[in-house]
Amino acid sequence: MRIEPLHTAANVAAVVAWGAILGALYMVFQYVPMERTMGNVQRIFYFHVPSAMVSFLAFFICFLASVAYLITRRRGLDIAAAAAAEIGVVFCSVVLITGPIWAKPIWGIWWTWDARLTTTLVLWLIYVAYLMLRAYLPEGARRANLAAVVGILGFLDVPIVYMSIRWWRTQHPAPVIMGGKGSGLAPDMALTFRVCMVAILCLFVALLLRRIVVELLQDEVDHLYREADVAPPERG
């Protein structure tokens, strides 16, 4: 795969993403009125929920790339899976940190072990383990195979985790949570939400492309070290 076109694409995506994010910030802090019951803190919602959706999308891409990798054995798909998982973990971290910050003033608690929260946490743990596995394996086709297997297994686990926690929760009644998601969002709020969704999506695409470019650069460097017959320096 050539780096140059991807490099350009990553730059273009970055510009678009910054524009979209600025627009989204304007919408969130200027355009949209304050929500009546939750107050200003509700504005977290506009970045929190799209981050959650994008992290889930990232893990889904990791799953698809892993399956495709095992069929075709192309290094490009291995890179895509790794990059998607990493960025998925970044957005998932955002979700797990902004979530409690939003929840505390509204629900009075930082955290509750309900199905959605618990599944998000388990998802984060699975993909952190995935990244750790990659870090501890020597690079090459072997690592790609093993990581792909975990990428597939981890994703298949998600619906089962969600189901099991839901059953579990019906046994232990959780604190009553008021309408978490944007049920019956006012039109200007819905518009703001949609703008934020697009902005976070652009950010995701930009990060994904950048991460792929860096991984390709790493391959190039490894290749050049072999060409030059020099041992690469030890990296922490």
Binding site: L70, V122, L125, I126, A129, M132, L133, Y136, L137, A141, R142, N145, L146, A148, V149, V150, I152, L153, G154, L156, D157, I160, V161, M163, S164, I165, W167, W168, T170, Q171
Partner: protein, 224 residues
């Protein structure tokens, strides 16, 4: 027939190795026993508390012991490159997975069978007609976590720090098994039947899904 013969050959080899060294078994038993003892000190539970936290303690002991056993399972295969030796023979990859899984399952079940009386004894439980159901839950839960565990042990055996890597990979993925097993055990100990069937069905479903997926994915773990 050939497949079953291969599977059985792998299974018997693992049994023989374990019988020789008794490494996995002694580590599992001692560790799980320690978990039971330490938790007893940590909570100093009375009768009611035991019914509440007992199931969790039991499954922490089982799964942590299981991880020790799983880590051993591929240590012997790594020594002298034995796994490559097995791969040189005209055998089905699936038979390797199922043979090793059955061996792990047996070791873990034996360890659990020894631990269960200690659990009842230490926490002064009175069990009679609940026992068959409890054994069913132990069987289903253990099938679930050893099925994924065998596959992940084969993966983590390739890494440095494999002793750390296996639990890090395994525990998030077996959350449904732990939830299902702990809840079912709790319901059984409290002599409640409501909701029990749902959890047992969930455990069984998990077992089927992950046995099938792991068998299919195992090929890719071995291949270079």
């Amino acid at each position: 027939m050939v497949f079953l013969h291969q599977l059985f050959t792998i299974f018997m080899k693992d049994l023989r190795l374990e019988w020789r060294t008794r490494e996995a078994m002694s580590a599992m038993l001692l560790f799980a026993l320690l978990v039971l003892v330490i938790f007893n000190f940590a909570f100093n539970p009375d009768r009611e508390l035991v019914l509440l936290i007992g199931p969790g303690i039991l499954w922490v002991a089982f799964t942590f012991a299981g991880v020790l056993g799983l880590n051993r399972a591929f240590a012997a295969e790594q020594e002298n490159g034995c796994l490559a030796g097995v791969l040189l023979t005209p055998m089905d990859r699936g038979a390797i997975y199922l043979g090793k899984w059955l061996a792990n399952l047996l070791f873990t079940l034996v360890a659990e069978a020894i631990l269960l009386p200690f659990f009842v004894l230490f926490f002064n439980l009175e069990l009679t007609h609940e026992i068959p159901l409890l054994l069913l839950v132990c069987l289903l839960g253990t099938i679930g976590f050893t099925a994924v565990g065998t596959l992940l042990a084969a993966i983590s055996a390739n890494t440095r720090l494999r002793e750390v890597m296996l639990p890090v990979l395994l525990f998030p993925i077996i959350v449904p098994v732990i939830v299902g097993a702990v809840e079912s055990t709790g319901l059984i100990l409290n002599q409640q039947t409501e909701g029990l069937a749902g959890f047992i069905r969930m455990l069984a479903l998990y077992d089927v899904i992950f046995l099938v997926t792991s068998t299919l994915l195992f090929d890719f773990v071995l291949e270079e």
